[in-house]
Symmetry: C2
Subunit: 294 residues, 2 copies
């Protein structure tokens, strides 16, 4: 047959080679896909809220910083600074008393509805606002909720998302463990605490020329401010519990009408401990387990 | 010619189609590569140390947490908790005085070599260790360096990396700006400060059965502890500057012989302010710019 003319076998061979190339390139693409999926699965951090992710990576307009120093700082006047000093004896006493004060702090989930002067909350937030921040950007917004209706809406959002979290993650164990878990997922303190402080990190700022301003280390900066906030709450004789409402950030942001550059980092209910408050009988690590001297 | 036998044009057409398929699939792969490069460039955060990245994502062995509560806590005894309360008048006074104390804090880059009792440093770190942490994992190690030789080695590593950072990022501007920049890149306080506190976050823990233990929110937890550390330093009448030595984490970790699950988060030189200390004439945002009441 003419099909088997002397060059046709050659064409057949070429076709075979081309088909093999195509098949191999398809295999490679598949492999990449599979690997990609694996990576994204391995990299997922289920306890990290999507809305919480630091999006400053999109705005790398400035250079690296290690001292959190703003480039504008170079043009600022530098002024002499003589902070107050204490005698060695006083330093020892003050440092010991501060430790003892903070060591009495516990995360409390039972908060009384007894009212607290707003000025105390103002002072506590003023203290948190003295925190250092990358390039002195002060990338924080403290939303203080005292309106009972808004507090209740916040509770509804958080409990709804929590229920989904629990149901989704517990699977078959859900039905059996329902009763036990309910204590975790129902958050009465969101109604009873006289104040809820929602701490938003500003993942970028807005310059006067309407351009985005990179907020270096914004999550670390706002977390440091939260540390100072916790110390200030304890110093005032009030209690709180450190919470990071999972997956609630976007809904709470919309409820509180915060702009898109703000992401919820933490929620602290603040008040007096209720009379029947309990805490788990936990111990802290001793100094030798957390400190190494070189 | 036999080449043009009636089926050869068919084979030729098939070969053409196959070649087009191969070319298109190559084009696609290139496109993906290009896009991938773009993405990774856009996502790069030059001020985030590679060694600092949170690698807990590899260990998602437990469920989500929002209250930082350990699953073990459910099995713990719960004990009554009655923290100390103050009168409203006292609360107002205490909260105001704490704010005023912290508002005097400034980041100071000029630190005296005057000695400080080690016990003060111990108390400061004890205070930081009272910080709350995700699932009460206490994922921090505070390395206190007082040995002058080790301090100097730390300085060498940081200044070396800093020089690379500056040279790499400044490009042509480098030569002209050298003098001005030198003040940023030479860090005398690393030698003069009586103590350097290097704060490591433990990105995972080790269980008794030698398995890895997930440290939820370890970076946020350690940053909160750093906030409390800063408050404790200020309370003792000492100064520091919050630094995150860029790209130095791995070398400093090796120098200080810390295990692989510990990543450097921050370095705080601690001491008295030197007599000729200056600070940039910065202002803090007023309360109404950081607080929103609902």
């Amino acid at each position: 047959m003419a099909v088997f003319s002397f060059l046709s076998p050659f064409f057949l061979a070429v076709i075979c080679v081309l088909i093999i190339i195509i098949l191999q390139s398809m295999k490679k693409t598949d492999g990449k896909k599979e690997k990609g999926e694996k990576t994204s699965k391995a990299e997922s951090r289920p306890w990290v809220d999507e809305d919480l992710k630091d999006s400053t990576e999109l705005l790398a307009e400035d250079e690296e910083k290690d001292e959190w120093q703003d480039s504008d700082e170079e043009n600022l006047t530098h002024v002499p600074f003589s902070p107050r000093r204490y005698s060695e004896q006083e330093m020892l006493k003050r440092s010991k008393e501060f430790y003892e004060l903070l060591n009495q702090r516990r995360s409390v989930r039972f908060i009384s509805d007894k009212a607290i002067p707003r000025e105390v909350i103002d002072n506590i937030i003023r203290a948190a606002g003295t925190s250092p921040s990358g390039a002195h950007t002060e990338p924080w917004t403290f939303v203080v909720v005292e309106d009972p209706e808004v507090k209740h809406k916040i509770r509804e959002i958080i409990e709804e998302e929590e229920e989904i979290n629990y149901r989704k993650r517990m699977g078959d164990k859900w039905v059996n463990d329902l009763k036990k878990l309910k204590t975790n997922w129902v958050k009465e303190y969101l109604d009873t605490a006289p104040y809820l402080i929602l701490i938003f990190k500003q993942v970028y700022g807005i310059r006067s020329n309407n351009r985005k301003k990179t907020h270096y280390y914004n999550e670390i900066s706002v977390s440091i401010a939260c540390g100072i906030l916790l110390a200030a709450i304890q110093n005032a004789g009030l209690v709180t519990v450190t919470t990071t409402p999972l997956n609630c950030g976007p809904r709470l942001r919309l409820l509180l009408e915060r702009p898109v550059n703000e992401k919820l980092l933490m929620l602290l209910p603040v008040g007096y401990a209720s009379k029947d408050a309990t805490v788990p009988d936990l111990q802290r690590k001793p100094l030798e387990d957390v400190m190494v001297v070189v």
